[in-house]
């Protein structure tokens, strides 16, 4: 140290001739691969969109108008509506680097509460629906509390909550299904989201684009959440918390509050999915929605949302759900074994995660 003293920083003489600007933000040379990587990095929903377009085109060519008709294409929308809604909730949670395994259970319990409150206690159906929505929100908030304040891993919290909620659902409902006819007669509002309407059908009411209100709800939800995530402070905080919670905390983000609100909103959205489920199957069944967990996570992963948090968009999850829907219907129309669907979806999942890893390498 002693001979360095007094003379300052000789070893830095080499840097004296360097550029004087502190940091230049120029884009360095990159080839078309780098360009694509950058594009995907800024718009992660692009990959699932391209895959969706290609799969629709391929099935359209293979199956002709049997597949490529307003009726068939809107049928896909109807079939993915519930998964799409739940996948939106799942996306919010996964963006915070968490995971929610209790989405399906929350949806079922909420639908059972909507039904039982109406039929067992004779509550007005509007009130029963509000109770179901409140219950979903409360379970979500409890998940969030355990994750944010108890510092428990989201996987464990929601794994436990899944079992608890599902068991509570069977205990409370006494494994009893409320029949479709009864609902139709006394509380049709429960089936509201299953109501269909047609655009462009022929005189006999066949063909044409057929929608349910659940589809409309899903689209509105995706639009709303896209706006919130992109254009509000809360949305930016969701990404920051998922990206690096310590950095977010030091930057002044209320990390715990954001986490609790994310899980609570996810619970609320799942409760809406529960309502949509009554519309879809007609009855209130405590055994419905068993596959929603895995289907929603599949849609989210195929939709290019990173399981490590902080990357991806709601739109991606919608595309992911639609891709699964297109494969399912397309292969069924081709009379292929249903296992082919699962096989191809498995390939897509692994492919999507590989692409995510590649995008993450973008850092200079």
């Amino acid at each position: 140290m002693s001979d360095a003293s007094g003379r300052g920083s000789d070893y830095e003489q080499a840097a004296a001739g360097a550029q004087k600007t502190v940091a230049q933000f120029d884009d360095h040379e990159r080839g078309w691969v780098g360009y694509i990587q950058h594009l995907l990095h800024t718009t992660p929903a692009l990959v699932p969109l391209i895959v969706l377009m290609i799969s629709i085109t391929v099935f359209g060519i293979l199956l002709g108008t049997r597949f490529f008709s307003p009726f068939a294409l809107t049928l896909i929308l109807q079939q993915v509506a519930i998964v799409g809604i739940v996948a939106s909730a799942q996306t919010l949670v996964i963006l915070t680097a968490g995971i929610d395994l209790s989405v399906g259970a929350i949806a079922v319990l909420s639908s059972v509460i909507m039904g039982q409150f109406t039929f067992r206690y004779g509550l007005p159906v509007e009130l029963a629906i509000l109770c179901g929505l409140a219950c979903g929100t409360a379970i979500g908030a409890l998940n969030g509390f355990l994750v944010a304040f108890m510092k428990l891993p989201p996987f464990i919290v929601t794994l436990g909550m899944w079992q608890i909620v599902l068991a509570a659902n069977f205990l409370y409902s006494a494994n009893e299904t409320i029949r479709s006819q009864d609902i139709e007669a006394t509380a049709p509002l429960l089936q509201f989201l299953g109501t269909t309407f047609k655009i462009g059908a022929d005189a006999d009411g066949r063909g044409g684009a057929t929608f349910t209100f659940a589809v409309v709800f899903m689209v509105l939800l995706v639009v709303l959440l896209t706006y919130i995530l992109r254009h509000t402070a809360w949305g930016r905080h969701v990404y920051a918390v998922g990206d690096d919670p310590d950095a977010a905390e030091l930057s002044g983000v209320n990390v715990k509050g954001t986490l609790v609100s994310v899980y609570a909103v996810a619970g609320l959205i799942c409760a809406f999915a529960g309502w949509a489920m009554i519309g879809r199957i007609g009855s209130v069944s405590p055994t419905s929605g068993q596959l929603l967990n895995i289907e929603s996570i599949t849609a989210v992963v195929i939709g290019g949302i990173s399981l490590f948090g902080g990357r991806g968009s709601i739109l991606g999850a919608l595309f992911g759900a639609l891709i699964v829907g297109v494969f399912t219907l397309g292969l069924r129309l081709m009379n292929a074994d249903a296992q082919w669907t699962y096989l191809l979806i498995g390939v897509l999942i692994i492919g999507a995660v590989a692409v995510d890893q590649w995008i993450r390498k973008v850092a200079a």
Partner: protein, 258 residues
């Protein structure tokens, strides 16, 4: 001259370990004060106490003569003390502008902002661009670029610009050159001098003696949980400073603290 930031008698214990032992601290307006000390001397605890990350067991802190007691870094920040952490505290996937305004976003005026909570992205990006330009972080092509696509020096530059933009009273820099190469360190040092030129006092924590001696106006030597002495870098050599720091040499008797 009154110190802008003054701490007296700070005590912080972790179990039986005394991290701060009746420590004093003074920062004068417009100066760069370097804080040096051996590992475990308690300098990071001192800095955390000042920036609100640690609540001292005893003693008090005055900012511009007013007594303050921060319970979180957010409170210190609201009082005008900005800290650039060694980890930089940035979200890599978010843009430069998003990061600069993280936790203090601007909303659009009128109904879009109040009812729909819409962010005023244009205003935030303009502000971010202006601040980076002011500090000579020129030629930014894309303020929406994610932070992870920047080099280490560029990230440090953005973090310092963020602190300088919002730190109205004091900016604390924790080891700003530790992770950087020679060339990038040089640029960050210039940036530090730029910030001082704008009248904002800086607390610089660093292990790098050449950097400390180059930019600091005064050097606070921390040893065994307290301020050992404050020296003027013009009067002492780097080896003297290291000797004070390690206890190999008696500190000067005339305290130049204030």
């Amino acid at each position: 001259m009154e110190p802008i930031l003054q701490a007296r008698n700070l005590v912080k214990r972790y179990g039986r370990v005394v991290a701060l032992d009746h420590c004093d601290f003074d920062l004068m307006p417009g100066e760069i004060l370097a804080v040096i000390g051996d590992n475990g001397a308690g300098k990071s605890t001192l800095i955390k106490a000042i920036s609100g990350a640690v609540i001292p067991d005893d003693g008090h802190i005055r900012l511009e003569g007013e007594k303050v007691s921060f319970r979180s870094p957010i409170e210190a920040r609201e009082a005008g003390i900005e800290t650039v952490y060694q980890t930089l505290a940035m979200s890599p996937a978010l843009s430069i502008a998003d990061n600069m305004f993280m936790g203090r976003e601007l909303r659009k005026p009128g109904i879009m902002g109040q009812v729909f909570r819409q962010l005023d992205r244009a205003a935030m990006e303009k502000f971010a661009r202006d601040k980076l330009n002011e500090l000579g972080l020129l030629t930014i092509q894309n303020i929406r670029q994610p932070v992870e696509t920047l080099s280490g020096g560029q990230r440090q530059g953005v973090a310092v610009a963020r602190a300088a933009a919002f730190g109205s009273k004091v900016v604390i820099l924790d080891e700003p050159t530790a992770a950087l190469g020679v060339k990038e360190s040089r640029k960050v040092l210039e940036l530090i001098l730029d910030v001082r030129a704008r009248g904002i006092p800086i607390i610089l924590i660093s292990h790098n003696m050449p950097h400390v001696f180059e930019v600091a106006d005064r050097i606070h030597v921390h040893r065994l949980g307290r301020r050992l002495c404050v020296i003027n870098p013009a009067d002492y050599s780097m080896s003297d400073a290291v000797a004070f720091m390690t206890g190999a040499k008696e500190p000067p008797h005339i305290d130049q603290a204030a």
